[in-house]
Symmetry: C2
Subunit: 357 residues, 2 copies
Amino acid sequence: MAHKNGMSYAPRGKSRPVVKPGDFRFAAAGLDHGHIIAMSQGLVDAGAQLVWVYDPDAAKVERFRATFSQAQPAPSLEAILDDTSIRLVASAAVPSDRGPIGLKVLGAGKHYLSDKAPFTTREQLQQARAKVEATGLHWAVCYSERVQNEAAVHAGELIHDGAIGRVLQVLGLGPHRLSAPDRPDWFFRKRHYGGILIDIGSHQIEQFLYYTGASSAEVLHSKVANYHHPQYPELEDFGDATLLADNGATNYFRVDWFTPDGLGIWGDGRTVILGTAGYIELRKYIDVARDETGDHVYMVDGSGEHHIPVHGKIGFPYFGRLILDCLEGTDAAMPQAHTFRAAELCLEAQEKAMRVG
Amino acid sequence: MAHKNGMSYAPRGKSRPVVKPGDFRFAAAGLDHGHIIAMSQGLVDAGAQLVWVYDPDAAKVERFRATFSQAQPAPSLEAILDDTSIRLVASAAVPSDRGPIGLKVLGAGKHYLSDKAPFTTREQLQQARAKVEATGLHWAVCYSERVQNEAAVHAGELIHDGAIGRVLQVLGLGPHRLSAPDRPDWFFRKRHYGGILIDIGSHQIEQFLYYTGASSAEVLHSKVANYHHPQYPELEDFGDATLLADNGATNYFRVDWFTPDGLGIWGDGRTVILGTAGYIELRKYIDVARDETGDHVYMVDGSGEHHIPVHGKIGFPYFGRLILDCLEGTDAAMPQAHTFRAAELCLEAQEKAMRVG
């Protein structure tokens, strides 16, 4: 029941290779978060060849290789960086290490795919922007709650096609299951995970910018709490924020670690997108007490109420686009400025957060 | 399809008379908003006797009497106030008139049931508090989105029984259908309707205080917009707010006038109540693309996912309790302090609101 705690939740999209075998070789380095499985799977499904895996912890490497036996254990990160055939390195290291690893990866002339959240400090973001500027390489971030959810992908298509008019507000709920006994120590250390608005809030702000088509935003209000876990004093088990985009649209999101044991998945993620001509609700991972499958789009427009179940129908085009971006010098999967802006706004939300509880 | 625009949406709860015929006589005065139908129905179903109806507009009186033929047209509000057999006057006058009418009603020694929002200025609230203090009479407010929705009533019972532990957050979505051509002029005048956070926001703040068991709160942030209706410059078609209760729980709500024509009801009202041991989602008036009936409670707790459809099963105990409060000097239906605090926080949210769009 690995999907129930979400730590190694790895949804599969349709396999749509965009390159021939061997044309795009990559490595996985930094396996602290189970997201690395889904990130690697996304790349493999899009045709990339997984060559190396590295982590200082040999047990993590072995667990990874249970899924990806083709990945050869590398003796060090440097050994991967020295392999000139490797185009991209993917990492789900401890959040506070993701920035420093990326600097090394781009420094070695390779593209980088970081798990979210990519940065825990503004200095890391600043260094990353400078490195991208200097190298012209991609510093991608896998904001999986949009790019690896078929309902979220389809919502983007609907909005792009004008199905709900101008988007006025994106409202997101990002509850997660804590599963505290199964979490590593760094998960509870704020200097390592950054705070709840940086960690699981990062998905939310990325979606807001994406669905509204905004290029930037400001944080109007944010808050965090540790309501119910005094045994983990640095944990924030609740957070929320409201933002105003440069085009006038607004955002509200709530993130928390209160998914009850009775839910059939790690979190009842929802996104409600309000437009001038209709609205969309995404039930991303489950349709509570109705359907244990995820990827539900509910849309109401001028003509009626629509339930559009898209599980297995849409796929994850992000990964193929990212591969082509790396090969062709394009910026189509997720514009670099958008990737960094979402991360920056998470840092701002965390900095401005008032403490409640 | 009157229910589709919501202007005369009048849900019926189970009829549970708490008094014998004639024991509690009341009048309806001020018919500007169709809510007066549901308010009167609630009282009648609880055993009250509807004796008089008054409005300066004879056409409104006639429309009202199409439902309640037992109500005799009164020549004036004063004629009603002079009838010593009348215990309570219900009013859904223009919002800015509800306070002044209430002062007259209590001044005549009768209880008052006001439509929400009860006040559009702080002065009105202050006068009402003073009048209640001086007379000991009830100044009740029909916050219908809780007291006249069976899912909302049942949620209160579940929370009271500890079903989801300590309530941490109440999140409410209150979209409404605009139906602009059918609205009277006052609906678009801010001095009359007060602003969107006062008008339809009032339901949301009342629910927050109720479900969290808080006695007060502060408004941390609020905003309003007119995104899409420049032809009605004083209309606010969007608003939201976040509050912090005196017990540490928080609230977020969004209200808007963007219900699309394709929805089978006037608004897809939702309430999501997050607790330490589970959460509840209310789909109050419809279960989009699933069930055109309202009153759905979805609850997830430690044991599983539960869909509890309660339409026709719970009733509206508010009205019977209010009648007994008036007869017995109790304060059980909705404590007076709570009623006024909810109204006060709406005024605060409206005052503090930043303008976006």
